[in-house]
Subunit: 256 residues, 2 copies
């Protein structure tokens, strides 16, 4: 595995799932072997690619509690090069069930270990919280990608998240890096979007991606067809922006 | 207390905080005494009304761990009739700290008991998860208001949330009712919004509010000024829709 990216932000609705699916599709289209790991009990990445979260053979829940290996849970998608480790709703029980396990933060890392030669990239979609599921993702990942909505309320939580990443680096994963902050749902009709981008660019100039994702209706329509934006509407502004992000991510991953 | 509403939905970014602040402001403007309870470690309701979440005297965290009573934590806002029980970032630690306490789900209910004669309504803003903090809100509340974004991914989690409400009703709070589902961020430029509204109206015809909240930039700008939409831009479509929602909620609360 070249890199394993955790898509994390405890603020809800900022584009974690949309970025995980879209980036995964474009990295696969450029020839990389990509594994999408759905670690959110809402299972939006799973259903967003057309899978039925209530009837998966195995899921990330089974992997975390040790009922199966990763290879048994992985499913191919319609996009060559992109596979998914689906979530199921019982993942919500994992936080409570693992709470007293010695190795509770390492379950995902250990589970993915066997797959590391099969993929170039992993993208781990996290729930909107900093609980045990997100900690598992941060312990398993090499890098964190932080989607930040171009809204005032989304700015608030950024420093808390970066503190958490630092704590994880000092604790369970010394190699964890912040790979980039991607600004999402940019709306040119309001000054607020531009102000939020300027604010983040000022505080985190080296971390923020140059690529900014615009608010684009086609991105919110794609999951209802069970497709990534690349397969739903490759000509949309949403698709163009995620293609640019994939190219920027590939450049960064060879530089860092 | 006439009613205590929990604003709950584990899907992130659907408008829980915006609805709690906006509804609170309009209910206060119509003469009700309203307490806004911020139960989210992100403390967006606290900062959205202009308070500094890092320097609150007391917070909902102190209330939950028994360090103070509710009366000591409550702060007045600029809007007469609206007061707030602020959150602070250390609220994130409450889930772990209370995990082994006997009465862990009742902490908020017990803490608010003393205030029940001082207010007509309470609005409890929940984090985007179904963990201990949201359970505390559901145990303390008489009713649940569920904001649902007019987006495909937001539909997915609705049945899971309603299952959770049923379980809470059978467990810690037999009186808990679903007061209403409010559709948020309706965007007339896309068929998707209308499809989602139809879908919810078909499955939950008696629960869905008639009032639909449109996507309106002024709503996303208001928190950066520390004001509710009523005080930021009373003439906006966002303000008009939340005024209508407050009126509909008052009608329902006398009927149910
Ligand atoms: N750039 C965009 N333009 C328009 N809509 C978008 C965009 N990105 C995401 N969306 C839509 O906004 C909503 C929130 O996005 P998404 O679900 O990806 O966020 P999330 O951070 O994964 O949410 P959660 O915190 O619940 O996991 C979804 O309905 C999605 O389809
Ligand atoms: N009707 C609306 N029109 C436009 N923007 C809105 C609307 N309602 C909310 N917003 C904005 O969308 C974002 C998400 O809303 P909000 O923070 O209220 O959701 P939430 O459900 O409380 O999120 P979380 O799950 O993180 O607690 C915020 O930036 C808010 O300002
Ligand atoms: Mg998501
Ligand atoms: Mg909120």
């Amino acid at each position: 595995m070249n890199r394993a990216f955790a898509l994390a932000n405890q603020k809800g609705g900022v584009g974690k799932t949309t970025t995980a699916i879209s980036l995964g599709a474009f990295l696969a289209a450029k020839g990389s072997r990509v594994l999408l790991v759905d670690l959110d009990p809402q299972a939006n990445a799973t259903s967003g690619l057309g899978f039925d979260k209530w009837h998966t053979r195995h899921s990330t829940y089974d992997l975390l509690i040790g009922r199966c290996g990763a290879a048994e849970a992985v499913l191919p998608t319609n996009r060559r090069g992109l596979e998914i480790l689906p979530a199921s709703p019982d993942l919500a029980a994992a936080e409570v069930e693992l709470a007293s396990a010695e190795d509770r933060e390492w379950r995902l890392r250990d589970g993915l270990q066997a797959m590391s030669d099969s993929y170039d990239f992993a993208l781990i979609d996290c729930p909107p919280s900093l609980g045990l599921l997100t900690l598992n993702a941060l312990a398993a990942a090499s890098d964190v990608i932080i989607p930040v909505q171009c809204e005032y309320l989304a700015l608030e939580g950024l420093s808390l998240l970066l503190d958490t990443v630092n704590r994880v680096r000092q604790g369970v994963n010394a190699d964890l890096r912040v790979f980039g902050i991607v600004m999402t749902m940019f709306d040119p009709r309001t000054n607020l979007s531009e102000q939020v981008v300027q604010e983040v660019r000022q505080h985190y100039p080296k971390t923020i991606f140059d690529t900014i994702i615009p608010r684009n209706i086609r991105l919110s329509e794609a999951p209802s067809y069970g497709k990534s934006i690349l397969d739903y509407d490759a000509s949309s502004r949403g698709a163009a922006s995620y293609q640019a992000l994939a190219e920027e991510a590939l450049r960064r991953s060879t530089l860092l």
